[in-house]
Every structure is written in structure tokens, then in C-alpha cells.
Subunit: 437 residues, 2 copies
Amino acid sequence: MVPPRPSAVAPRTLAADLTRATPGSPVRLQGWVHRRRELAALTFLVVRDRTGLAQVVVKDGPDGRPAVPPEETTVEVVGTATANPQAPGGVEITDPVITALTEPAATPPVELWRPSLNASLPTLLDHAPVTWRHPAQRAKWELAAASLRGFRATLDAAGFTEIQTPKFVASATESGANVFEVDYFGRPAYLAQSPQFYKQQMVGVFERVYEVGPVFRAEPHDTVRHLAEYVSLDAELGFVEDHRDVLRVLRDVVAGMVTAIHEYAGGAVALTGARVPVVPEEIPVLHFRDALALVGAPEDEPDLAPEHERALGAWALEEHGSDFLAVEGYPMAKRPFYTHPQPDDPRWSNSFDLLFRGLELVTGGQRLHRPSAYDEAIRARGEDPATYAAYLQSFEHGMPPHGGFAIGLERWTARLVEATNVREVTLFPRDLHRLTP
Amino acid sequence: MVPPRPSAVAPRTLAADLTRATPGSPVRLQGWVHRRRELAALTFLVVRDRTGLAQVVVKDGPDGRPAVPPEETTVEVVGTATANPQAPGGVEITDPVITALTEPAATPPVELWRPSLNASLPTLLDHAPVTWRHPAQRAKWELAAASLRGFRATLDAAGFTEIQTPKFVASATESGANVFEVDYFGRPAYLAQSPQFYKQQMVGVFERVYEVGPVFRAEPHDTVRHLAEYVSLDAELGFVEDHRDVLRVLRDVVAGMVTAIHEYAGGAVALTGARVPVVPEEIPVLHFRDALALVGAPEDEPDLAPEHERALGAWALEEHGSDFLAVEGYPMAKRPFYTHPQPDDPRWSNSFDLLFRGLELVTGGQRLHRPSAYDEAIRARGEDPATYAAYLQSFEHGMPPHGGFAIGLERWTARLVEATNVREVTLFPRDLHRLTP
């Protein structure tokens, strides 16, 4: 079944390392046929691997010109490293023996070899397994992957413990709306809308915890910002004074994500033209009340409208030279029941939204920690605390003042590359209409 | 709502850092009342934080002896660092001012201050938010968290890209059995039993990928080894010669997990008495056919029984001094349809199981990569390749020879601490009977 392969004349050379190959030495390249250009006297072959592109020159031999498989076929190329200032990295491969590693590839749905991918969003998504191969598309995910690495590294260094909490839950976390129901061995269960309850409970164990994982929202609206499933970067920490301590950790986390992007995805930044922000030492903070006044909204407005957020983003940039602005003190009425009120005026909350370039990126804040406060807050919603018995165990048995935040990975990456739709930066988006590929 | 707190006379001191405090200097500790011992002339208070335990000596003052809140209440202790060779770390806190950070804690369902936690499994699980606070219990998860860190660090260093793939899928991945059905906006969807199809597709993009995340199995059997939801550590890589290349990467990954345990969870190893293995430079490999012969099983046996795995584990230890043994070549008939056959004898497969101390820990192997091979394999199952159209796109458009593996996090940790039931090392297990806490 498997074709014989040429004996390994050399260990595999990655495209990015070709530039360091000694001219005249044998090299062995493996990758995809990125581009095949047949000219009168020779064929130019560009091979793509995980590190970049390499040029292979195929000349006529005694039996004519060797066949080159069509684009996207995987190949092994054994040849000679040859200096050529015109080749990428200054080195190309000559006198190649080309072996296909699979059957000739079908023509891709989009031309992956073109410098930019001019495909409609439905085409991109319908053919995601193939369209993600385009270097500029793939680079978007590299920004996301580097960000995950920076998120974890920052929190690891700050004494946080990674947790993995269940996605099957007995009742809705945030609200009964938008929750997916599962047939769980013949009875109903739900998919967690966030790890909120679990990360709080684990503060009781580890003090500082984080989790990276999928969250599920049965979002009935078809918008450019919402998905039925997305990746949530959650953190929670105990022994805080108030939400400002949480915001300080968030600042360091976002700075760590930016550092990781520069360190591990510099090439992806260049390819996507991503606008990677500079994170200020201290993120400017505005109280919700002052934010309303600043944008000229009525003082009894319960929330910030998208145009308000945009105006605040512009203000933060002009006034503080910052791409980030934290709005604190959101009205208690608009926050979940576990939100801690502002001690001197309980109409407001010790919570915040972090705006990044005028769009909400993160929600966070201080949570209630006294059992009596939970009892009161749950009854005030007209609910029975017994419904939350499992969750409330932690508080009855001693919890510290604590708080945390959640970053939506897709929203973050979308903002970096200025994608208007989060689907452009999601490997396989799930929404009202899409369940495949 | 929030009680006034003593002004911060000193930045917070963590219990583990108390040993370095200058005697006579002011310290500020925060944590849980781990143990309160009232003696005739004084009260000994042990405070627990994320780094360990600290001793506080409470003596009678002018107004009698200060009240000490009950165990598990969160407190702030401001006092003086004082040398005492009998105290943990040689330093205790004297002249303390103790402030409770919440209401007096209810008595825990188990005595968390006892050196070992003698609770039944149902008690442990029913009260998980509190029982995980026990240092020896908590240490089990620290082994898991360190392992995750080692898994990712090893693969990051080897050029792998982290991916996050959807848990909502349109059809079952591995088989129609044991799949959870979700009401997905009024139509059926399923929860991914593994990221298998997606990680393969992403090999077409990144060559080398990994994913850490939940997988879902509607496991109808109530066993000590199965959960309805568990954490799968998946990796997949392209341009392999065969499954032996995959096994070599797996070896490095397991070695990296072990290194991370020693580096980040040394205290947890001591507390749990975990038997952390030494990973041999090369993991011994036995063909399935020879494994059957070795344990004296009939040569047409299609799988290894648990007692066979135990016998093989004992053999590997005796013969090779290894806690690990890879059994390769499992019969094709018992492996999933995407499994690559053994080139010289297609009754066998290019797949393996990694046994760790006589129990299956990892399944891995080489996958098919030619579109014609998929077409044939799917038809041989009596299925229509059109059902797999989204998945098959990758192969039609060029895939390299590739393979991968999946490690079950809970099985790994259970083996380290010799837990007989995976539930003992799962933060909030989910099974046939359990959906809460």
C-alpha cells in the first residue's frame, strides 16, 4: 500500500533551515507542493512545510523533464542545496528527486499559492480543512496559539494552578437562557456556559486557578461576534482587596499574551499585518457613571451601547494613548448574582469590562464570598438557594474575597487582525447554521 | 457589607516564605484556619494558604484570650515573625491580630486538618469543593496540573501548534455507540468522543498539533476506569515513517511530563507518595502476536485481556527494568477504520498501546493518508464515504503520512498515585450516576 521511499540520504531539512545548508550538500525536504510553474526550460516548484517555503528547480534530464505532482500533493524532495540570491533565503534545491507521498491532490477550492486569499467567508468555512493551509490564514491561528501560551505562562509564573472542570452540569450557570440540553443517560443535563462556579470553588482549594477550554452558548442570534461554542480563557484568584487587584492580574496576562505573540509568532504578525497592542503599565479605568457622562448618554442608562464603547475606545487612545480601557462599576442590576457590590454604593458593582479598541474583550470583577450574601442575592432573584447547594458548599466552608475574569480567545484574535467576523479566526466555527466541517 | 480590614502593615507573606522572614519583623498572612488547638495557656492556630501551613501562637491579652474563628474560616493574621525550631519552617507568628474575612465556617464534612483523609469515595465526591482542600488530596491534582504543563512544553519545543477544535459535531467520531446527543437549535448534534478527525485535518495545516480538552463518552458501564467526560491529551504529527516515529514522540512527551512533575510538583510527590516513573530512553516494544505468545494466550485472540496486560507489565519490568511497554501491531479488525495497516502483513496494524505498569495508558499509531485508502476502508465498514465528506477533504487535497496518540489525564494521574478508581483524581467526575457537584 505504501510506495517505497528513497533511502534517507540526509535527515529532513525544514524550509526555514535551508538557508543554513552548505551549498553542494544533499538535503531532504518534505512538504506540500505549494506552487508548480512550468516554464519553457524548467519547472519551478515551491514546497511548503510548517516553517515556510522552499524553491526547487526541476530541469530536463536524459528522459525529459521529471513529472511534478499537482499543487497540494505531499512530496519528498531529495536534492542539492544551491546558492541563488533570487531564491527565498538565498538557497534553492537543484537536481531533485521528487517522490509523491500520496495520490495526486485534487485542485483546492481556493488558490492557496496566491499571496492573499480572496475567498468569501462561506467558502473559507466550508473548506476550512484546506483553506487554513494558506500561510496568511494559518498565521491567524498562530497568533491565537501564541496567545494561549502567553496566558498560561503568565499565570503559571504567578502561582496559579491549571484546572479542568466538567462541561456537563446539572443546571445552567449564568442564566437559563441560551443553554444547550443534552440527553445524559436518559435524563437532562446541560453544557456549561462558563466554568464560573467551578473556578470559584477551586479558589477555595488552590487560591489562584485558570482554565482554558470550550464554553457553550445556544446563541439564537446570527451576529458577527457570537458563536455557539468558543474558547474561554478563565482565571480566578483569592485574597484580593477588590476588583482592582483582579484588573492588575488581567493587565499582566494581556501583556504576557502580547509578549508571547512577539516571541513565538513574529512571522504571523508580519503575514497578517496584525496590529499587536502595547499594553500600558496601568490600564486606565473609568467608572461606568463617568463613562456614561463622557459619551453623553442618560445617567440612568443600564449598559453601554456599541457606539458608546467605540467612543470610549477613541477617548482612551486620545487621552491616555491606550488601546485598552477598563470601565468599572457597572450597575448591579445588569450583572450576574454572584457579583460583589461597590461597598460605598451598592447600586454599582465591583466589576469591570475591559474594552480593547472600543470593543468589549473581557468581563471580570470581584465576586461575593460570604454565604449570607449568596443567600440574599439568590433569594432576591426569586430563586431557592437549595438549587445551588453544590456551589454554595464552598462559601459555607470558608472562602476568601476573590474575583476573576474571562477572555474570549476568538474576540481577541479577531481584534488583532481586525477581522469583522469572529468566524474568520475560529478553526471550525459553530453557530445557529453551521455544524460542519 | 465588607468588614473593615486592618491597614496593611506589610505586604502579604506566603506560608512557604515565612521561613525567610527576619525575626521580629511584621508579617501579614492570609489563608484558611487549618487547625485550631485550644490549650490551657494559649491557642495554636495553623493557617493554610496555597503554599503550605504556618503556625500562629495566640496568647491571653489584657481582655482575655482573643477569639479564633473555627476551622476553614478565611482569615488575615498580622503579627510578628518569631524563630521557633518546633514550628514548621522554624518560624511562627506571635502577637497576632486575627481578622476573619468571612462568616465563621461551617464544620467541614471531613476533618481536613488530619494528616490523611480517611473518607469514603462517595463522601469525597459529594463534598468535592471542600474535600479537595485537604493537602494530600489537592496534591493529586497538582500532579495532574504539572503533567499538563510538561505535555505542552515538550510539544511546544518540538514545533507543535496548539489547536482548539469543536466539541459539537454532526456525527459520531469513533463509533455510533456511546455518543451523547445534544439538542442543537432544534436538530440533533453530538459531543465529540475525541478530537481525532480534527487533529488529523490540522496536520494538513500545521504538520504537528496538540490539543488538551474534554472528550465525551456515554459510557453505560459503571467501572473504576471509565468516565462520561475526561481530559484527553492529544497529539498528531505528519511526515512520519510509521508508528515508531509516533512512539518516539510519545516517549519524549511522557518524559517531559515526569520532568515537570519533579520541577513543579515535588511537594505533591512527597505528600501523595506518588511513584513517579523513570522513562527509559527507548520504550521496549513487543508485537501483539509475540505478546499473546508471551502470556500464553491463543494466537487468534483479538485483544489483550486485563490479566494479559498485567503480565506484560510485569515482564517489561523484569526483562527491561521498564514501567512502560509498547505493544504494536494490534489486529486491524479491532482498530478504528483510519488505522494504517502493517505494510508487510495487513492483518496487523501500524498502531500501538502504551502500557504503564500493566495498564493501558495511551493508544496511538499511524493513520491512513491516501484518499483511496479511506474510500476503501469506509466502504469495507459498509458505510458511505459521503457521510465523511468534510473529513475526507483533507485527504483529497494532499496529506502526509501521519500518526498520533491520546493520553487520558485521569488514568495517568491514577497510576501515579496508585488510585484504584479514576474518580479519586478527577476534580468533579461525571458518570452514569453523577452529574453534581
